[in-house]
């Protein structure tokens, strides 16, 4: 007979968990791992949420969106598919509260540890407070007013909690980021083994983003300038010389990175890229087999000419029928793969990617031609391609960047523009270095154009779109700029476009209809299950 008092042998319990130093670090690592998630029911694939959110915006389209967070059904705006009952809404909401609970659990218990020492515990608390603030921030972006939870709730407390006005939540987030910045070291003061943890600079950069999203332009600019001017205190950040180097798996924690999601080959990887890239990239080279997230024509058109001109501006030299991708912002080629793109594969060999239907020289190359089984839009992604993944796989150890130095420059530019303070001096410190690094050489592209404010803000926003495409920021941007109904509404006859590969390459591909109703879609609905179980929660307007 076996004893009846059986206890698990592979788990710590409340009594002994926190005393073990490794456990304290593991509990904090869990908080980090939950920073971005919610894409798919039951899954916490941060990479999936990170990338597929692009399909909520005008940058991308996802043809088969089951199991990847249903961005297509949400952007359809159909009441049948985007409503308070759908899983995506429930998991988006729930996953950040899971993160918040982990952070609260850590903050309430870490003092039980008596061996780590006050200094280290202070730093770790700063990390947890940053992460909790970040989760709250993401919640406010999706849902507006949300319950502000700052302790480990009991089920009974959870069932009666009410929403806190967004302004108050934002106030709390800002004060927490201040506290975190005070508790955290600058990145140079971290031991090498701790690279990837949030730092003083990260807390301040996140604060700048929160201020930017809430239109607090002067405060935002002040934080950006603090980061730009007090690098000795906040950490030294600089643009990478080469654009693609920013994302390289062999160039992690580079000078441009402020905060990122940590991965490592082979133990902690993401593999979504198999659904993003071309299907044939040369003999023996790794190629995608599904094309489930494709860049839109709209994104491609947003990249300027080498003269710094919008392609539709008179004199831009742009011809949509003849070499439309030539003479363009070099970041276009670092971001998307277009017809006749010269691809350098994971074996180091070059291969022309033929996407225009009927142009491939042989059956092998034909695999990349636009169509229902290849790219549906006529484009593939390039950014975040990891040639160092093990041969034959897309199992990548690249970190996914949450904030990088370019964004600080763009925030400064945007805030200053909104304040009416954009001038050549600001331009030369923000947009110009980004364009230089991108590879623009002509003065018309590099120098301050001296336009009116309205046009200037469009330029700054466009710069942000091109620089940060595929980095999971566009959906937030079009909402906070209140341009979502303009860029997301695609009614029948005016579908989201792909490349001009339809009807014998005479018309743009029509991808999908979309509806964005500004009366309700700026905020996601509070999920039904939470409304049903917590009578003090109220639904967002329009839902």
């Amino acid at each position: 007979c076996k004893k009846i008092d059986l206890t698990p042998k592979d788990r710590y319990t409340d009594d002994n968990f926190w005393q073990v130093n490794a456990n304290a670090f593991n509990a904090l690592a869990t908080c980090y791992s939950q920073q971005i998630s919610g894409g798919q029911p039951g899954s916490s694939s941060a990479a999936q949420a990170y990338f597929y959110n692009e399909a909520l915006s005008d940058n991308a389209f996802c043809p088969l969106d089951v199991n990847v967070g249903t961005p297509t059904q949400i952007s359809s705006g159909s009441d049948a598919n985007f409503n308070p009952g759908i899983n995506r809404v429930k998991y988006e909401w729930g996953s950040y509260y899971t993160n918040i609970r982990s952070c609260n659990l850590f903050l309430e218990n870490i003092d039980k540890n008596t061996t780590l020492g006050a200094t280290l515990i202070g730093r770790m608390k700063g990390e947890a407070r940053y992460l909790r603030a970040h989760a709250l921030f993401r919640l406010t972006n999706f849902f507006g007013d949300v319950p502000l939870i700052t302790k480990v709730l009991t089920p009974e407390e959870a069932k009666v909690i009410a929403k806190t006005p967004k302004a108050d939540v934002v106030k709390f987030i800002l004060s927490e980021l201040d506290a975190a910045a005070a508790a955290l070291p600058k990145k140079e003061d971290l031991a090498a083994a701790d690279r990837g943890r949030v730092t003083k600079g990260a807390a301040k950069a996140m604060k700048a983003r929160v201020l930017l999203y809430n239109n607090q332009w002067a405060e935002c600019a002040a934080v950006c300038e603090d980061l730009m001017n007090n690098q000795a205190e906040n950490g030294t950040y600089a643009l990478q010389a080469s654009f693609p180097d920013i994302f390289s798996a062999t160039n992690k924690y580079n000078s441009e990175v402020i905060a990122d999601l940590g991965y490592q080959q082979p133990d902690r990887t993401w593999g979504d890229w198999g659904d993003f890239g071309p299907f044939y990239t040369g003999p023996g080279a790794t190629a995608s087999s599904v094309s489930n997230l494709v860049p839109t024509q709209d994104l491609v058109e947003s990249f300027l000419t080498l003269d710094g001109k919008n392609i539709f501006e008179p004199g831009s030299g742009y011809d949509e029928n003849n070499a439309p991708y030539a003479n363009r912002d070099p970041r276009l080629g670092y971001t998307v793969v277009y017809d006749k793109y010269v691809w350098v594969n994971n074996l180091g060999n070059s291969q022309v990617i033929y996407i225009k239907p009927g142009t491939a020289p042989d059956p092998t190359n034909k695999k990349n031609e636009a169509g229902p089984t290849a790219t549906t839009s006529g484009y593939y992604w390039r950014k975040y391609y990891d040639p160092t993944a093990p041969k034959g796989t897309f199992s990548s150890g690249e970190n996914l960047i949450i904030q990088r130095w370019a964004e600080v420059l763009l925030m400064e530019a945007e805030a200053k523009t909104m304040l009416g303070q954009m001038d050549a001096a600001v331009w030369d410190k923000t947009i110009k270095p980004l364009r230089v690094r991108a590879g623009f050489t002509k003065n018309t592209a590099l120098n301050y154009p001296g336009n009116t404010t309205m046009k200037m803000i469009d330029q700054v926003r466009n710069e942000r779109r091109c620089e940060l495409a595929f980095e999971s920021l566009r959906y937030d941007d079009i909402k906070r700029w209140k341009i979502a109904e303009t860029v997301l509404n695609h009614q029948p006859g005016n579908e989201v476009r792909g490349a001009k590969f339809a009807a014998g390459n005479t018309a743009f591909i029509k991808l999908v209809v979309r509806t964005f109703n500004p009366a309700k879609h700026y905020l996601w609905p509070i999920p039904t299950e939470s409304l049903q179980t917590d009578p003090n929660l109220t639904q967002n307007p329009g839902w």
């Binding site: 049948a80 939870i149 089920p155 083994a193 082979p266 034909k366 229902p372 929660l537």
Partner: protein
């Protein structure tokens, strides 16, 4: 455990109390005397003993031998002294109650040959077993009922035959004996196995159904015991979710429907050992199965009986029988039944262009391409190319027999079911093999009786590494698997299923199981027995996975990570029972008391290792090979994080009382302490009480009994339990998960806290059962009927009443309450004689209703793809919810005037769905959803027909479900499923709207992302709802048994050859997929996904069989 030892003490005290003999009748024969006699004649000895012992001895003077007796006794009962005196004198004693003792000579009778004919009221009776009572002499009546046997002239012949009353006839010196046997009153004498014992069926107060192994298994090419049981007992509901050969089978099995939102698996008990694996059991070894359906019969299994109990008894040898060798074998072919087909390549291309045109898009195929497709014809990218007829065989050999004190049975079984799929070139054909060996022995040693069972089972299951069926279905028929040069090509689908099957690797499962059980019983007195049963099962399960990298033409690869993995699990289950049983008849009173103690312990541990980038030919580590990290479910793991231990201590008992074979009362109880619950919630007590009344035995019913037959009513009520939770949920703990994040390009572990429920305890099901059994027409027709009402409360499930903003999942809580009500009827009708027929029909219903959901929360909607599954108080456990279609728009005017989803201001047209505006508010929104249906089977039925005529026999078995709804999605319903996932239309969805086909079943074609497609296909509506009722001809057998007379010349007792066919006909409104398929497993948790069937086609089996007994 204090409580447990207290129980132990009480049981020991009770045992001793029952041991003390209270009967001390004092006859004079027991008077103790002293004698010392030397060489005294026998007559004088008798008179000495008569005097000293106050007895009277009767004897006949001339029968007494002239022998002198020497005798010495010191305080010995006089009867024993007398016994000693006549030792070796060929004399015997007979003692009468009044103290008289008769002494007479032992007379040897002459041996004679007795011949005769056995018949029943309708004719001669072959196959009757005739034994000379008290000897090993035995024979069997031949085809004409004739027999011949050697017996002493004063002996008694015993005639036995299944279905007849045993008959004892004294020979009385006659050499010819013609006997007529009477069909047995089955209800009176049929014995059924019940918990920890057996009972006459007539005395049952609970709902116990007996299924004979021979009826369920003989001649049927069943893949396992569960498949054999489908349709055999009313409300034993078995759904075969999938048909592909597999180690465990894909079944939902429940008794009386779904009574809980948790697991509905019944408890399996094999030869008294709880928790046996019915999947590894050789179906041919089954003697009979008892299905315990209600509280009265199941409560003695306490904490795990809430879903009913299936008791399996295996075959044993018979005492005093010659060795018998039985062989039975079936060999045949499984033919895949393809229920849907893609339309031709050219038609498909035309339709695709129509879909594009309907969506305002340019055509997919130019006229030139269309012409090319037409000229080229259809390719072979279809299921028919990769699936072939596959053989299946069942082979069994059984050797059994027994001496007067020992029995033995040895059986060997071999089962081999090949998969339809194209064979692997690196690991042979895909399919399942099962090897079974069994040794059952019993022995009687004085007052001890013992039994040993030893079984060994080996399961070998070879399956493809990649599941390819989905990819075969997606592509249009323009594609072929290979080009003219034999290269494996990729077309619509980026991989090649044929290459994957042949060369892409495999998963090979190789499981071994050894099960041993030992029982010993000791009769302290004829009425009082104690027994101990000990059983142990060791399982060693292994799986090897190989993934081989493939390169296709012109592009594409599969299995680039080249994994080779080994997974091992080892488990030990032990089961110890100590039981005391007292049985006594007092005049018309009958009493049976049973008490017992039990422990069950289980330990399983597993480890696994997965290596990637192994050698592409051999799978061995090579340059670049890495070990995949991982947690318990994949990758590599150690046994430390994959060990499960559980333990259960129990006491139990039953009191059965009967009066005059008319009134019966049963009471049972069980107390269980489970390691799955916290100390103060650990013990559960599960009682039941039941009674039955044989009305037909009453005086006032004598007329009824004579003219109609038996009638009995019964009822019982009790509380059953379920402890179906994962271990350790009452302890709050931390999981350490490897590799959740990385700092400094180094992976780090994470830790998450598991919430505990310190109040976790049993799920309890209170069950009322009312039943009646009746016979008609002299027992030829029997009828059994039951009504039940079961309320299960404290159902174990994670809480659903807390908003997700709580931030953590929940362990199991005792949350829900479900009512499960229904009825079952079983009718059998048998005719005897030269054309014997047997009909058996059963039908049953079980309907669940959610009474309480989760701490006051009354509903939960879980979205699955386009569908909603709803748990709502007042409805069955889970129901489908969605919109109702109201026909297709036939004109733009109709589109403009009809309510619709608010954002579809443009884009809808003729051929799109209208939806019912439930609340008449002029628009379609979430308020217009209906409950669409119940996905669980209702009105399940089984029909069995057997007929025999002059050696020929026929069996027909039909099984089905009369009511069930199924929501089915996927490429078989939506043309060009999601436009880029599905590339074809099937005959199942080709009836779509066009201006020429306005009375269509499905809407017009439209590409993914259009308003029309969103409205028609992305909306969960009753378009996806199907009636999944069905009736299936499960088995037909036509057999011929060779005449016994002919066979006896070659020492063969029985030989039967037969044709057998399985699943040859299915009638259902749902035609394009198997109507048995379901998205729900037996554990009705809400993690289930929507049903997109693309399964393994139902096998239609045709084969031949041979049964021989030597």
């Amino acid at each position: 455990s204090n409580k447990f030892s207290l129980m132990l003490k009480w049981t020991i005290i009770l045992t001793f109390a029952l041991c003390i003999k209270v009967s001390a009748k004092s006859y004079s024969q027991n008077v103790k005397i002293n004698v010392d006699l030397k060489n005294m004649p026998l007559r004088e000895v008798f008179s000495v003993l008569e005097k000293k012992g106050s007895i009277r001895i009767l004897f006949s003077e001339q029968d007494m031998p002239d022998k002198l007796v020497t005798l010495k006794a010191d305080s010995i009962p006089v009867i024993d002294v007398l016994e000693k005196a006549i030792t070796n004198l060929n004399l015997k004693l007979k003692v009468y109650d009044n103290g008289l003792i008769a002494v007479a000579p032992i007379v040897a009778a002459a041996k004679i040959t007795v011949k005769g004919v056995v018949s029943d009221p309708q004719g001669v009776l072959p196959g009757v077993s005739i034994t000379v009572k008290g000897t090993k002499e035995v024979t069997i009546s031949d085809a004409n009922g004739k027999f011949s046997i050697n017996a002493e002239s004063n002996s008694i012949l015993v005639f036995t035959s299944i279905g007849y009353e045993p008959l004892e006839v004294p020979v009385d010196g006659k050499t010819t004996l013609n006997v007529t046997m009477q069909p047995s009153n089955k209800n009176l004498n049929e014995v059924v196995v019940i918990g920890y014992g057996t009972a006459r069926k007539v005395s049952l107060t609970g709902a116990v159904d007996r299924v004979s192994g021979s009826q369920a298994v003989d001649g049927r090419p069943v893949t396992g015991a569960i498949q054999a049981l489908q349709g055999e007992s009313p409300n034993l509901i078995i759904q075969q979710r999938g048909w592909s050969p597999s180690a465990g089978g894909s079944y939902n099995i429940n008794i009386r429907g779904t009574g809980t939102t948790g697991n509905n698996d019944p408890l399996i008990v094999i030869d008294g050992i709880i928790g046996g694996d019915i999947n590894t059991l050789n179906p041919s070894d089954i003697d009979n199965i008892s299905v315990l359906k209600d509280a009265g019969s199941a409560a003695i299994y306490g904490s795990r009986s809430a879903n009913g109990v299936i008791l399996v008894t295996t075959k044993k040898g018979k005492l005093g029988t010659k060795p018998s060798i039985a062989y039975n074998g079936i060999y045949g072919t499984q033919v895949p039944h393809f229920t849907f087909h893609p339309v031709g390549a050219y038609e498909n291309a035309l339709d695709k262009n129509m879909s594009m045109a309907n969506s305002g898009k340019p055509p997919q195929y130019t006229d030139q391409q269309l012409a090319d497709i037409k000229a080229k014809g259809d390719g072979d990218w279809r299921l028919e190319t990769i699936m072939h007829n596959a053989p299946q065989t069942n082979q069994n050999l059984t050797i059994s027999g027994g001496s007067p004190t020992n029995t033995y049975l040895m059986s060997f079984g071999y089962f081999d079911q090949r998969n339809y799929l194209e064979r692997s070139l690196i690991n042979g054909t895909y399919g399942l093999r099962r090897f079974n060996f069994r040794l059952n022995q019993t022995a009687i040693l004085g007052n001890f009786s013992t039994g040993w069972n030893l079984t060994y089972a080996k399961i070998q299951y070879n399956e493809p590494f990649n599941d390819v069926v989905g990819d075969v279905l997606r592509a249009p028929l323009t594609d072929s698997f290979q080009d003219a040069q034999g290269r494996y090509i990729t077309g619509f689908v980026p991989s090649n299923p044929l290459d994957l099957l042949r060369n892409g690797g495999f998963q090979f499962t190789n499981n071994d199981e050894i099960n041993g059980s030992f029982n010993v019983a000791y009769s302290i007195t004829p009425a009082f027995k104690i027994r101990a049963v000990f059983g142990g099962t060791v399982k060693a399960n292994t799986q090897l996975q190989r993934q081989v990298e493939l390169d296709y033409y012109p592009t594409g690869q599969s299995n680039q990570s080249r994994q080779t993995a080994n997974y091992n699990t080892k488990s030990l289950a032990t089961n110890t029972n100590l039981i005391a049983e007292y049985t006594k008849n007092f005049g018309k009173h009958y009493l049976n008391v049973l008490v017992g103690l039990a422990n069950e312990s289980y330990t399983s541990e597993g480890n696994g290792i997965r290596k990637s980038l192994t050698d592409s030919l051999l799978g061995i580590p090579t340059t670049g090979t890495i070990i995949d990290p991982g947690n318990t479910n994949n990758g590599s793991y150690n046994s430390l994080s994959n060990t499960i231990e559980t333990s259960l201590n129990s006491y139990f008992g039953r009191v059965s009382y009967a009066f005059a074979n008319k009134y019966f009362l049963d009471g049972t109880f069980r107390g269980d302490a489970s390691s799955n619950f916290p100390k103060n919630k650990r013990w559960g007590f599960f009682p039941s009480i039941g009674g039955s009344w044989r009305l037909s035995e009453e005086e006032f019913m004598s007329n009824y009994k004579e003219k109609v037959g038996d009638l009995r009513v019964r009822a019982n009520y009790g509380v059953l339990g379920s402890q179906n939770v994962n271990a350790y949920q009452f302890i709050s703990s931390f999981n350490t998960n490897a590799n959740v994040y990385a700092f400094n390009n180094t992976a780090t572990a994470g830790a998450t806290r598991n919430l505990a429920n310190a109040g976790l305890t049993w799920e309890k099901a209170a069950t009322l059962d009312i039943g009646a059994d009746a016979t008609f027409f002299n027992g030829q027709l029997t009828l059994g009927a039951d009504y039940f009402n079961k309320i299960t409360r404290d159902i174990l499930a994670p809480r659903q009443d807390v908003p997700t903003l709580f931030g953590s999942g929940f362990p199991s809580y005792n949350v829900s309450k479900v009512q499960d009500r229904g009825w079952e009827v079983k009718i059998t009708y048998a005719t005897r004689g030269t054309f014997a027929q047997n009909f058996s029909f059963s039908i049953s219903d079980a309907k669940s209703k959610l009474l309480a959901f989760s701490y006051g929360q009354t509903e939960n909607v879980f979205q699955r793809e386009e569908f909603e599954f709803v748990r709502r108080v007042g409805y069955p456990i889970t129901v489908y919810q969605g919109y109702k279609t109201a026909g297709l728009y036939q004109s733009q005017a109709e589109v403009d005037s009809y309510p619709r989803f608010a954002n579809y201001t443009t884009g809808l047209g003729p051929g799109d769905w209208k939806f019912v505006d439930k609340n008449h508010d002029g628009k379609i929104d979430a308020q217009d959803k209906f409950v669409l249906g119940d996905p669980f089977p209702r009105y399940t039925f089984g029909f069995n027909y057997n007929a025999a005529y002059k050696g020929f026999d026929l069996t027909i078995f039909i099984q089905g479900v009369l009511k069930r709804s199924a929501l089915i999605r996927g490429e078989l319903i939506e043309p060009y499923h999601f436009s880029n996932y599905g590339g074809t239309i099937y005959d199942s969805n080709s009836d779509f709207w066009t201006p020429q086909n306005t009375n269509a079943k499905y809407p017009r074609l439209a590409e993914n992302g259009t308003v029309a497609n969103n409205n028609d296909y992305r909306t969960g509506s009753d378009m996806y709802l199907f009636n999944a009722a069905y009736g299936r001809l499960k088995n037909v057998q036509i057999g011929y048994s060779l005449p016994v007379g002919l066979l006896s010349k070659i020492s063969v007792k029985k030989a039967r050859v037969y044709f057998t066919a399985q699943n040859i006909l299915t009638i259902s409104p749902l035609k394009f997929t198997d109507p048995e398929g379901t998205e729900f497993g037996n554990n009705l948790d809400n993690t289930v996904g929507a049903n997109s069937p693309r399964g393994y086609p139902v096998p239609v089996f045709y084969g031949m069989g041979l049964d021989m007994t030597f």
